[in-house]
Symmetry: C2
Subunit: 151 residues, 2 copies
C-alpha cells in the first residue's frame, strides 16, 4: 500500500500506559500463559534526545513488550518528568495510549501529518531507530506513533 | 499456541468508541488513502440477544471496520440504551474501548476468565457468531472482547 499519509496501514503496536509495569506484565503473562517479559528503562536524554512539546525532557519510561501476532502490546510506566506518557497517566489514568506504524522517512511523514492538523507531540531516539508521537486524537480518537528503524 | 486463558494471543481487533462514526470513518479513510467504509447498525435485540450486566438490553451501535494488516480497527458509535459502549462514552469519552481475540468455546472461555476475576460485562450474537466483553481492565488495563465464529 502506497497511499495515505503514512504509506502503510499496518498497526504494529498498541501502547498501554500503566502505573505498575511489574504487576501488569505478570497479569499479561498469566493471561497468555507465557513467561513474564522483562521491562527495561528507555534511554537517558543524552541518548534518547527526547523532546516533548518542543522542549528537551529528561523523561524516561519503563517498557515491556508482549508479542500478540502481527503486533506487540507495549506496556509503558512513565517517570515523573514531562512526557506524553506522564500527561496521559495524570489526565486519563491507565489505558491505551497509542497505536504505532513502522514508516520510512520520519521527517517527511511528520511534515505530512502536521500539514493535516496532526501536530508532533513528542519524539526521541532508540537504539536502531527513532519515534514520534503525533496528535491524531481529534481525527482518529487514538494517538498515532511513528516508528522508523534504520535496518 | 495452546496456553493461557484463551488459547491464543493474536489480537484481531481494536475497538474504538466514537461520537460521530461518519466523521471518524472519513478521517480514517483520508489517513489511509482508502474509500470510506460503510457503517451499519448491529442487530436488534430479538436477533442480537444483547445482555449487559446480566439484563437484556435494546442497545445497538453503528459499526464500521478498517483493515490494518492482521487486525481491524472497529469504530463503534453507541445508541442511548445501556451497553458497555454507551457506558464507556459517558464515563471516559471517545477512545480505545477493547482489544479482541477470536476464540473457540465461548462458554468455557467465559468461565475461565470469570474464575480469574474477569467478569462478563456484555454479550450478544451476530450473523455467524457471538461476542462477549470481559472486564479485564483491572488486570490488563484494557477490556478484552471474545469473538467466536461458527465457521
Amino acid at each position: 500500500m502506497d497511499k495515505g499519509f503514512l504509506g502503510t496501514n499496518v498497526i504494529t503496536q498498541i501502547g498501554i500506559i500503566v502505573r505498575d509495569i511489574d504487576k501488569v506484565s505478570q497479569s499479561y503473562a498469566d493471561f497468555f500463559g507465557i513467561e513474564k517479559p522483562k521491562w527495561f528503562w528507555t534511554d537517558t536524554v543524552d541518548v534518547a534526545r527526547t523532546e516533548f512539546k518542543g522542549a528537551s525532557s529528561e523523561a524516561r519510561a519503563k517498557l515491556a513488550f508482549l508479542d500478540c501476532g502481527q503486533l506487540q502490546v507495549e506496556l509503558i510506566e512513565p517517570d515523573e518528568h514531562p512526557s506524553t506518557w506522564r500527561e496521559f497517566l495524570d489526565e486519563q489514568g491507565e489505558g491505551v495510549h497509542h497505536i504505532a506504524f513502522v514508516i520510512k522517512g520520519m521527517k517527511e511523514k511528520i511534515a505530512v501529518l502536521e500539514a493535516n492538523q496532526m501536530p508532533l507531540i513528542q519524539r526521541g531516539e532508540y537504539t536502531g531507530g527513532r519515534y514520534a508521537y503525533m496528535d491524531t486524537f481529534k481525527e482518529l480518537k487514538v494517538m498515532v506513533e511513528l516508528l522508523e528503524n534504520d535496518n
